[in-house]
Amino acid sequence: MTNHDFDVIVVGSGITGGFAAKQLTEAGLKVLMLERGRPIEHGADYTTEMKTPWEMPFRGEGDAALYARDYPVQQLNRHFTEFTQNHFVNDAQNPYEVGEGAFTWFRSYQMGGRSLTWGRQCYRWSDYDFGANKRDGHGADWPIRYADLAPWYDKVEEFVGVSGAKEGLAQLPDGHFQPPMALNIVEQTVREKILKQWPDRCLTVGRTANLTEAKPELGRGPCQYRNICMRGCSFGAYFSTQSSTLPAATATGRLTVITNAQVEKVDYDPATRRVTGVRWIDTQTKARKSATARMVFLNAGAFNSVHLLLNSASEAMPGGLANGSGVLGTHIMDHANTLSAAAIMPGFEDHTTFGNRPTGIVIPRFRNLDKLDGDGFTRGYSFQGGALQSTWTAGAREAGIGEDYKNHLREPGAWRMVLVVFAESVPRVTNRLALSKKLDPLGVPQLEISFNHGKEELAALADAKKEAASMLTAAGGHVIFGFDRPGPGGTAIHEMGGARMGHDPASSVLNKWSQAHQIDNLFVTDGAQMSSSACQNPSLTYMALTARAADYAVTRMKAGAI
């Protein structure tokens, strides 16, 4: 056996890269974590965190001229502002191609990746989800079920710190929760009225990776109810690589981190049928570098991990690394996402709230559970959203000038409630990633994304619009508008798939351990491994799969099998 620089190379420092590094270093392995973006130090580098709008050159709105030039895609993200722009990529410097259809790819290339900018919603999947492909024949059957992942959800939730309410729902299993954040009076009323009419529909507060109780052992304080998480939180109150997994991995003394390192290829030795290490480009000096390891974990983010596998084609594997099946890059998914209903909620004019709760509500899936009751669709959808009072920005839609107008805008406005749908994306072979002929500024082929929502998603969104309006109306609201057409692919920022898990090496890239069928010492544990999309926010599941894969890899390595 040759000497290696490291036991494991982890490519990527986001949600799953951080978790992989933590699990592997804590198991005694020497790990190199590579991050393509710049370093960001917890607290010290959250440069806009404490700024007021009047301290910002463009008052928090940002420089639209700059955004049109350098951030044409990222600026479409509702959370992209002058306060958060430094946590998103510069599109001009990080181009990608769109083949068929449309795709807005929201990215954060930096230490911590999108763990700094994620929505923090944490939901377990159930067997309705892991059994979905087998049930209706779309995609490849998952080689795992809920029971395989449940103990790993337990461990991950315990470490992450997820606040939420137990509701006893089969389709959204309860977890190890910190105390929930409370519903406001409007949401509580809507919950009760919906339950009365539809006993199978449960509005509950979002299960979110914001602490309601401190984790002093990790140096993390409780949420301060600012709801400006994406600027970075020096209280460490939400889960990110910086607040949680990086300090844990660093504390082992076995972690090496290199930033500004854009990994270009994974090296493969056909003689041993193993990967031997990775090559990267130092984005600052343009120097090409490499390191060797006994094992490689890809955690670059779903599409970038697939990109790396495609770009690591060799004579032995001409279609891409670990692509003996030919399905690498195919069956990518997102969620079909739109605002299903917005309603005025009268009757609460003398109620308000204090503080900014960093989560909304969720109405878990109620379609196509034990009975297939979807009209034109066999998968699920769920709603997120919440009730809020409007403020001065509502003035832009109203006639009026002068004292009365100003005094009117001084007080909180009418209560409104919004329901935003996330519908399951059916895995389709035609939605796929490929290498473009165009190169990025470092000379690496760009990724080409082809993506269209299908008729099943459109049918789900039509049903969602109808049901959202019914529920808000039943709860006493006056619906003012709603949509049933999804935004382009990528809108939900839940892009996944492309290196799917499956039973059969002939039709899937990874086995049930997130391990390449063809290469024992290669693991892909980010969103690329997903065989179906469910309708829940996926990050918690990625983390649970990562922890499970890391445990398996360590066991196999210690047994001498890897």
Binding site: A68, F354, L388, S390, W392, T393, G402
Partner: protein, 204 residues
């Protein structure tokens, strides 16, 4: 008038930001000659801002730099104001790139209504003329195919005011670190909204 040159402008803004640290005043000073407001335009934008949000128990929008913010915001195209206008009515002052010079449009429109120099009118008349323009911009029924440019200007006046220290923390309340979540408390007449309620600001 010097034609708009985005590259030149961005590079000037970038150099200034790097050399001096970016502030709105410096960004305004860095606008290319054709985009920089004249003294007359500055006075008009300040007056219009003040008419929309006048002094009450707190200062008005014109008094807290609303006019200058408006000039900067319009030059940089905030709230879509640098998008090319389709089927612009005759007489609208367009840039070479097809976008509307909102400040010049406003000046023209108010002078037309005043049948002369808007700024030379008595205060009550200025207020009445602007109120008429405002009312016409929000017609009943479905939104018109060509919304009045006033709507974007008004949006930016509100933005400038409620994100200023006066508007954000004196007229409204600003709580950087609430520290707790009270899910249901009484709202009394006269209680002020929080400009730091980011979700409310976002969803309006």
């Amino acid at each position: 008038m010097t034609p708009w040159n985005r590259r030149e402008f961005l590079s000037a803004a970038g150099l200034l930001a790097a050399a001096l640290g970016t502030t709105p005043g410096r960004l305004l000073a860095a606008l290319p000659a054709g985009e920089a407001p004249t003294a007359q335009q500055s006075a008009l934008l300040k007056e219009v801002s003040q008419l929309v949000i006048p002094r009450t128990t707190t200062a008005g929008a014109g008094e807290v730099g609303g006019g200058a913010f408006l000039s900067l915001a319009l030059a940089h195209g905030l709230k879509g104001t640098r998008a090319p206008v389709k089927d612009a009515p005759a007489g609208w002052p367009l840039r070479a790139d097809g976008s509307l010079r909102h400040d010049l449009w406003l000046q023209q429109d108010l002078n037309r209504r005043a049948k002369g120099d808007f700024m030379a009118q008595p205060p009550a008349q200025r207020r009445a003329l602007l109120a008429a323009l405002d009312a016409e911009a929000f017609p009943a029924g479905p939104p018109p195919a060509q919304p009045s440019p006033w709507r974007a200007i008004k949006t930016l006046i509100l933005t400038g005011y409620y994100t200023s220290e006066e508007g954000g923390s004196k007229e409204l309340r600003y709580e950087a670190v609430p520290g707790r979540w009270d899910n249901d408390i009484p709202l009394h007449k006269g209680d002020r909204a929080f400009s730091s309620d980011w979700t409310a600001v976002d969803f309006g």
